[in-house]
Symmetry: C2
Subunit: 386 residues, 2 copies
Amino acid sequence: MIMKVAIIGVGNSKFGKRDDVSVQELAWESIREAFNDAGITQKDIDYTVVGSTAYRGVELYPAPLVAEYSGITNVPMRVEAMCATGLAAALSAYTAVASGLADIAMAVGVDKMTEVDTATSLAIGGRGGNYQWEYNFYGTTFPTYYALYATRHMAVYGTTEEQMAMVAVKAHENASLNPKAHFQKKVSIEEVLKSRVISWPIKLLDSSPITDGSATAIFASESKVKELKIETPIWVTGIGYANDYAYVAKRGEWTGFKATVDASRQAYKMAKISPKDVEVATVHDAFTIAEIMGYEDLGFVEKGQGGKFVEEGQSKKGGKIGVNLYGGLKAKGHPLGATGLSMIYEITKELRDESGNLQHPLKNYIGLVHNVGGTGHYAYVMVMRR
Amino acid sequence: MIMKVAIIGVGNSKFGKRDDVSVQELAWESIREAFNDAGITQKDIDYTVVGSTAYRGVELYPAPLVAEYSGITNVPMRVEAMCATGLAAALSAYTAVASGLADIAMAVGVDKMTEVDTATSLAIGGRGGNYQWEYNFYGTTFPTYYALYATRHMAVYGTTEEQMAMVAVKAHENASLNPKAHFQKKVSIEEVLKSRVISWPIKLLDSSPITDGSATAIFASESKVKELKIETPIWVTGIGYANDYAYVAKRGEWTGFKATVDASRQAYKMAKISPKDVEVATVHDAFTIAEIMGYEDLGFVEKGQGGKFVEEGQSKKGGKIGVNLYGGLKAKGHPLGATGLSMIYEITKELRDESGNLQHPLKNYIGLVHNVGGTGHYAYVMVMRR
């Protein structure tokens, strides 16, 4: 029997190129919002974990700086799981509360990724694969890895470049209504298809940007939820995590992520739901093909039907399952350490009916967060309920 | 009420300059030993955390590589807390079990620090302070920070260079009996005092070396301990963690680490013991002065009496409290991610009466592990009992 844990406060900084702030100032933007949201202060926190890849900026060890700047004195560690670093931090805070060690635990995700140039960024990303056998030999970078999956998905299931472009169009449309998103500009299918090819079939507008940002979620035990009289706690009812081979060439199939399949089945089992119960979700769309594969790996549709799902508008606001309604990695932005916690921010707001123009109509108030690290090296799935 | 958690298996690689192995091979050395020690295999593990600073080697993201090489499919994250990374991993595995999410969780610590040259290493260490105000302005590196504390301790309490040298002599004597230690050579007080000054009063032989290594500890729930018929489980009865200012100049006093005081008081309270109950311990001796301050901050002696404690031989094998009996960071070595878990390895072996020539005589079988990150930025204390 696992202790009940709720999310009682969330915060999200403005995402974008944030050379106006230091790492610790950027972190504080979302921490402050989460404190205000939960109605608590520093003294209420028993455990804080910082999720950050410490993205080759000047500060190699950001956690003590975030602690000092935010006036927090119990930050035992930084966690990292590549692009899934945000949910790694969430898992760490979740277990701290569920273990009884902490009554209130906070997960802060932050990365300042624009401090290095794009070429360096691509090199760092490539080293998220296997350095010895892939990056070093073939120069594989993130777009290249995802292009392998995209071409295979096209060959096996007939997925089209147009369908991938529709993921980007949806993301930008949603982001245009989210003032915290990196981009507020809508794009058309034609613009995506005509944008510069990065690694065919992946084009510039199929790719998530390099973004600075922070996001925070505060977790509490059931007794604290009562004590603090939290009006609308959002309960974490399922959590799953899994890995796949570091060496991508070893994987059997390049049409989906086994780690996502495994993690989601664990989370559904723990939450006692099936994929068809999910009403609103974030799906890790580092590239547009990733969202299409995500629909399938999470069980929202049969394998191979992901392209059709977006084409039919089923993943739009008001569709069957509202996916990435705040703009996704693609247009909201993808600051590695913050991304997963920004997903939790989004689903918390949706489940509280606080999303305004971006609010998806809900019946049973069941949401899901899906965060991938590397190219399927890590996958996390969290099920959340009002 | 926190669920009971026991350590059921431990492993420690040979420490030293390990250019004969990759990071994942080095990790496997201690994982294999821990598996054999616990009598389990990969399929028994529900959660594995990798503690590593990913010390500027070729592999920036070691966790998926360790997972793949070791045949483990549930490694949700890497954790980092500078030099306390090993105990950060232990806390992560501990909470995974105590939360009920995992029945068996493994903490693997690994760093290959000799892949970069010593000058780079000192620069990385310096950035464990505050980059903007300290490293960048004054060029402070780790020996310099500890020299600040040493000179202040000498001025306020009359601690001598000879007393610091005695910490090194004890460490090397113990390490000479530990085949896994980085150094097996004994040193004399004269040799320490005459060794090259790094940052006065800290000399070369007052300093821990730059070491490659890995260590592993496996944690299990009470029901698993029974199910697996573990003969001598070692229970984690107390755990504490705390932080201090990142910016060292902000701290009030340079004669000890406030984070150690805070973390130890939490751990003692949870374990329902007082410092005088501790029989065997590891104390974080990155530099000899750190062990002397550690005796005091942990409450083994009154403030200012640390120098006398080592001088009287109270911290030797057979003394009042056996400290760093396997050689300490000073002579066993200090591979950042592995250090804390190597401490857990040592205290587990001591509490099981399995330390042979290095066995301390025990009555109540109460041990303590103390791991510091940065120069007191983090401190962890874990109380363990047979």
